[in-house]
Amino acid sequence: MSNNVETFYQVMRRQGITRRSFMKYCSLTAAALGLGPSFAPQIAHAMETKQRTPVIWLHGLECTCCSESFIRSAHPLVKDVVLSMISMDYNDLLMASAGHQAEAALETSMENHKGNYILAVEGNPPLNEDGMFCISGGKPFIEKLKKAAEGAKAIIAWGSCASWGCVQAARPNPTQAVPIHKVITDKPIIKVPGCPPIAEVMTGVITYMLTFDRLPELDRQGRPKMFYSQRIHDKCYRRPHFDAGQFVESWDDENARKGYCLYKVGCKGPTTYNACSTVRWNEGISFPIQAGHGCIGCSEDGFWDQGSFYDRLTSINQFGIEENADTVGMTAAGVVGAGIAAHAAVSAIKQTTQRKKTEEEQNS
């Protein structure tokens, strides 16, 4: 159980981290957050002097890919230290205790740190049937979420589930799963979307908040600007092929072998805000586009409802049919065109008969 007196640094040392590794971690984090090298000592200082901030990590309707991503963060300190720093209080997936013991830990932690802890939410609450589609600790998750949110200082929405709804909220959304900002309206919520979010992005956000004791700067939709202010497309290494007009036309064609742009096979990089093309995945080894597949836009709102992953133009199901803007537009234009042709024909007939009539009148 936490006593809330240890500093981050003490926790790290207790975990057997050397000072040298600690300083490395500080510089790396500064770099990941887009801060200059001069910020590394500042982070170190904060970590040495500040009491650690308790984090409570809840799991709602989700697949746990956020946690999976998180524990694969490139820097070992992250999984060893940041995780243990935060999981100490409550994380029903990673904590050692289970059952009543775990729930008791949650209660105590919420009580002890009331108004002080950060609530990290993975997954979202389904509202249909009084929340019965997600039972956690014997109660609907929505109840647990609301209770935990009450005493939280700030809330992190992990992944696309908590941020936007993701797959369980895709049409027709039978469980009525909703992103957490729909049920928690009185607390600042930091959205860290992605399915899952990039590990370094997750740890970066947590470290920033723990170190500087404030929320990272957020964009209009509540995402930290430092990781979500640019699209994949803006920093994609295949971009020169896009600008040149060189595309993969179909899978396994010559252009695919040459590594051309994946726009025509449905890449959602131009409409997706995330750091994949810069931070990349698995210790910076690769990311989907580098592996030859277009971006599917997993960090965007409602990405499951944007039609096929392999079409550039989105299917519009609002019209009751699965057609893209061009089919809808061309059909409408065709109908109007036919109408115009018919109208023109009738007009021409009318014009001629009328002219004849006037001529007759004039003749008689």
Partner: protein, 240 residues
């Protein structure tokens, strides 16, 4: 719209309607019209190709910039059309009263509604003869507003919202138009709506050209030459 607004005090309506020519569209307005025609043509073609690019070009990426040029043409024409549209709104304030017809529908006038009805009947081949108009006829005016003013405003807002994504967070485009994106959901939705907007305008243009040609032939006043030279010519001197 009916003619009476155009009357100088003392003039009788009869007299005006018997005139053979009235100066309607002033030079800046005509210039705006044709600049818009050209820009929208460029926007439509390049926009279509942005969503459905041409077949891949051969050679090295460094030697080619096809998509880049297409997008550049789109954005340039987008700026031109927007600045022209702002100029057009300005002209509604300082130009003659026909310059305001595009933006202000006289829905409070009974006469406007009855003439609108007459014009609908004319288009359904129910009315035998059309009425004379110096400016837009009520149906034309209504269509202009609903299709062109609304459509163009929509394209400018969604277009600049998309543009702000490239210009980056904090750019003026982002500050002025960035809010449009969450309004539609996400960037992909804005793309889809922007593309639907193009088809909306295509339908407007088809109808607009058809009606202009038809009216030029069948109505009692000139249309096409009016937008070139500014003068409305009447083909007969019957009143009304």
């Amino acid at each position: 719209m009916a003619l009476e607004k155009n009357l100088a005090p003392g003039d009788s309506e009869e007299k005006v309607r018997r005139q053979t020519a009235v100066y309607v569209y002033e030079a800046p307005l005509r210039l705006w019209h044709w600049v818009t025609v050209l820009s929208v043509l460029v926007l439509g073609v390049t926009g279509f190709l942005i969503g459905r690019p041409l077949p891949s070009v051969p050679g090295e990426a460094i030697d080619n910039y096809l998509m880049g040029y297409i997008r550049f043409a789109h954005f340039s024409a987008g700026y031109v059309v927007t600045i022209a549209f702002i100029g057009r709104i300005y002209w509604a304030f300082v130009g003659n009263h026909h310059a305001r017809e595009l933006f202000i529908l006289p829905v409070h006038r009974k006469r406007w509604w009855s003439e609108l009805w007459h014009e609908i009947r004319w288009y359904l081949f129910l009315a035998k003869t059309p009425k004379k108009y110096i400016g837009h006829n009520p149906l034309g005016q209504l269509a202009m507003f609903c299709f062109f003013v609304v459509g163009m405003t929509f394209m400018i807002f969604t277009g600049f919202a998309l543009y702000s994504e490239g210009a980056g967070v904090g750019s003026w485009q982002d500050q002025v138009f960035g809010w449009v994106i969450p309004l539609f959901g996400q960037s992909q939705d804005v793309h889809t709506w922007h593309r639907l907007g193009m088809w909306f305008l295509v339908i407007f243009i088809m109808t607009h050209i058809y009606v202009a040609v038809r009216e030029d032939i069948m109505s009692r006043q000139s249309l096409i030459s009016t937008m070139v030279g500014g003068w409305r010519m009447f083909k007969d001197d019957r009143p009304d």
